[in-house]
Amino acid sequence: MHGRGLILRVDLNCGTVVKEEIPRELCLKYLGGEGVNSWLLWEHFLKVDPKTDPLDSDNVLIAGLGPLGGTGYGAGSKMKWTYKSPLSNMFGDSVCGGGFASALRLAGYDHLVITGKAKAPVYIWIDDESVEIRNASHLWGKDTNEVDLRIKQELGDERIEVATIGRAAENLVAFASIIVSGGRVAGRTGAGCVMASKNLKAISVRGTKGIRVHDPLRFQEAKDELIAAMNASPENLDTRRAYGTLTAVIGYQIRAGNAYRNCQYSVMPDDKAKMLSHKWYLEHLAAGSLTCSPGCIMGCSGWFKIKGNEPSLAAKTYKGVTGIKAEYLAVASLGIMPDLPDMAAVLALVGLCSKYGMDAVEVGACCALLMELWQRGFLTEDDTISWTGEPLSLEWGNLKAIEKIVHSIALQDDQLGRLLRGGVYKAACNIQDMKEDVPALRFAIYGKGGSPFGEDVRGMPSRSTNMAVASRGADHLKGFGTLDLYCRPDISNLYFGTPDAAKAMDITLKGATSAMAETRTAIISSLGLCVIPVGIDPIQFPLVMFSKALSALTGDEIAPEEMFQIGERVVNLEKAFNSRVGYRRKDDRLCDRWLKDPKPSGPDQGWKAEDFIEQTKDDYYERRGWDKVTSLQTRQKLRELNMTDVAKVLRKEGALI
């Protein structure tokens, strides 16, 4: 088939490798990337109990890139890793850039399904047709950057792409990540932890076969059309090209979305915000720009070098450190939440997290939680002595303390690390178990499934709804481009035939907006593209554009309406998985900080999620066609989406209305 690769199944129990074609019906039903990944996960858990422990060898790790990824289409190549999450115990997936995904497609594989558990540490070496499982005991215990280098040396080719885990994953930290191509992170929900539980240290790939194109000339035209659309808003593109998502620090100062000091405040003091702004970064640290994945004309990533003479306190400490620029969420979590207004320190810490291979967002939320408990007098020096053996001040912005926490979590060598191993929600529970009079859960920042998010979303009803319902837990990549942030009446008109949904600080149609944004990101992720350039704006980048490109590449004609249905189908499939695990409406919830504490400042001062979330959730379930009381899917909706097979399974388990 043109433009499509194979599914590569590797069973680590017995070391068997099976290659099979992706059935054409599956491509038409779920597109590729996230969609087909979710189907493969669903299929796997038909044979395996969905309530299995995520760290059991029965869990599966799936990697997949959609058809338009890796082709040089213009909007990047983003790979999805899908599994049952050890962090939230439900559906889990994580997205990454890097050249690994493209290399896998160039070798002829669109999806990689890894099952079982190896007896000793191994890594997989894919060289076009040949697939080999090799001993990795010499790589166990090494940092991610070193593994990348050593595998390339061992195999004798610098152009090999490597996906690997670090020491955090080996120590089974629940939010450990997979680090791809030497610094691109599949960060959220514990992909690395699942990989480590399979005794799989790394996957390396060289692809030289290429991707066959159905109609090269038409594909070239489709590409030109996309690039023209991307260039049509040069200002927007220029800002993003130069700064990536870092501009949000200043943007959120105005919109009041910076979760300063564990979200006790919504804006930072201006002088501190300046130290974390894109301008400061560009003036002092930026060394060059990069794309995060092949085939992107935007290239919003970059690399930095700390020279040591920057006007920041930590610059001297981290003199000579280089690395890949962090994006807003990492800066928010490690800079804004624990009040560490120092870009050099934040970038160095994010670099340290990727060296150990773990999620900087979760680490930042853990630090901020401990610091707030310290501020309120619930934690004292005695606690830190009993956890680490030495006194540690958890004052806001104490760089030494944050660094100590990062090391402790990754290396799991003291009680502090073990306390935080399961992420911020479980850490709060642990603290409450230890000290009954400390209401730690009251202060932890988390959404569905216990995963944290480093923004203040209280005044944004649509975004809050996404945090409460997203299939992989609180997250902006399942529902990117909600209207309360981008206030676009034209998009509201397109979706609902009325401009009402575009009003900020208003709950009209906001639940429905969440559903629409979620469907759109599911489509983009299933195509293998990046949501940053093309995910937000359905007017500038209408689905018909992708439909044309897909037909030129693969020869499959998928109309825009069908594509929209595919997006819905993907969301429904992920929801069905969570329903099987036992998640219901009561689990679609936010943390108390967002629910109960009114927003202290900003244009939406006084807003709290408690006031609107049940209403917007109703609105969301209604738009999805799900039952409002339980949040379960209805037979009618699944029949509409041609998913009767899924409905049958759900009915048998009592998870269907």
Binding site: G72, L106, T208, K209, I211, R241, A242, P294, M298
Partner: protein, 179 residues
Amino acid sequence: MCELSCSLAKEGAINPYLARIQVIKVDDYSFAPVICRRCNPPKCLQACPIPDEAMSWDEALGVVVINESGCIHCFACIEACPFGAIRVGPNNEVLKCDLCGGDPVCVKYCPERPENSLPHLPWPKQSCLKYIEPHRVNDHKFASERAKSQEIRLPKDHLQKRFELQPHLAKERSKYEKD
């Protein structure tokens, strides 16, 4: 992006190993494009044992073009190129830039970088690749301007490494050595 666009335009398939342009790593985070520098007189043409059949000089564009049907795959041009800009593809095809008839796709898809307009960088709003018209290639004033912009820096060991970087060529060479 340039590699992927090149292979699509030239071969109708997406495969960086078939591209006439190659992006290589200089150090940790910097990369450089390797492509025909259009030297005059061209070293590759001088090295070719059968220049009449396998290679020709395109007067209008000022570039050497390979005639695939005449090529005997002796790889002399690859050895001769001082910039390591001629490559071998997966099926032993010799890959060399022919400038796409004067409108190279790699340049077309190379985005301009807005931050290049900042005070500390000398060339406002530039992309990495630039098409230089034939009459300016040997223009000395222009050449010195190019050098000033530090246009392309290649790592010192690039020439030694160019065989290692191409697995197909390495395999092929080891075969010859055995023979």
